[in-house]
Amino acid sequence: MALIVLVRHGESEANVKGILSHSYNIYPLTEHGKEEIRKLAEDFSGVIFDSFYSSPVLRARQSAEIISAAIKMEASIDERLRESSMGAYNNSPHFELPKGGREEKGLESWASIERRMRNFSEEVSGNVIAVSHQITIRAIIASYLNIGEPESYGIDIGRATISAIDTDRKKVLCVGARRLPERLSNILRESA
């Protein structure tokens, strides 16, 4: 039973260079990326979370550090929140990715991404905040809407945005918002 707030990391060197990367220790946040997370983090000031997690990937960890200052908690690393595996295309430019399905290209399958995010969401409880990636957040939102990969193409998780799910009522509360929505903010503050 959890209310999980999912934050996508801010702009990173990988985004700016148009590179796909699932590596843990390269491509830090740009100055712009740090700034957009700082602004977003202000919305969480005074909110009390029960737990805080982050993907192990650098751009996520750095985003988590910035959020830490606002919510006065350190993030625990959870591998299940990591970027999807890019297979042989790791650290290559976007345009080198040929057309065709995920698995054909050697990328991590949608089913695998959905499974680990689902696993994470069903294990945690209380008010949770987690920093993760575009496709992982999209996959868990799609999962709670009971739709698959092609059907969720319109779920667009921008950088430094907030999404949220209520695992108890199996509801999606927020998709890719730039600021913490009022209703969600009230729910988080009331249930502390």
Partner: protein, 194 residues
């Protein structure tokens, strides 16, 4: 089970010129827009629907015509209810950026039709349908309706992106979505819709 397929028109000259055009101008689909419509037609071909509805705006009508070609003996019914956003005093003006990204306050300031107005006219229209249908209309209208169906307010739905020629599918009685802004459907989804 009554499902409704909501298709956003393909890219048009108005979009490319960044003009807010609802009741003015006669903007056609661009080459890209024709491709968007062709793709939607290909994806939707074979689904059991009894009618195609379209907004009266040219870019929607042209999209509906292209889809209709894949359906043999089916008619297009034009409906004012699913018209483009009323841009008020902003009609005909240039607007760079995504119109669907405007906040409620910005809409009010620009005299543009509100989120709640879009939701209510789309809900009224859809509740008047009694069978599976394809409905060709506009991005913000589809976005607002779908977001509301899944329980999201305007500030909670920023990440719902209804692209040109994209397909969204709803089952209104169940408050369920089967697709949101997609360009293809899996086999499993197609089977559910048969």
């Amino acid at each position: 089970m009554g499902y409704i397929v909501l298709v956003r028109h393909g890219e048009s000259e108005a979009n490319v010129k960044s003009i807010l055009a609802s009741r003015t101008g006669d903007y056609h689909l661009t080459e890209n827009g024709i491709e968007h419509a062709n793709n939607a037609a290909k994806v939707l071909k074979g689904l059991p629907v009894s009618c195609i509805y379209s907004s009266p705006v040219r870019r929607a009508l042209e999209t509906a015509e292209i889809i209709r070609k894949e359906f043999g003996d089916i008619r297009i019914t034009v409906s004012e209810s699913i018209h483009e956003t009323d841009f008020g005093r902003s009609e005909g003006k240039y607007f760079h950026g995504r119109i669907s990204d405007l906040t409620d306050k910005e809409r009010l300031d620009m005299d543009i039709e509100s989120w709640t107005s879009h939701v209510s006219r789309m809900k009224d229209f859809i509740s008047s349908l009694d069978d599976n249908a394809i409905v060709v209309s506009h991005g913000f209208l589809i976005k607002a309706y779908i977001s509301d169906l899944i329980g999201l307010r305007s500030d909670e739905a920023y990440g719902i992106n209804i692209r040109f020629g994209s397909i969204s599918i709803v089952v209104p009685e169940e408050s369920r979505v089967y697709a949101v802004g997609s360009y293809s459907l899996s086999e499993a989804t197609r089977r559910k819709l048969q």
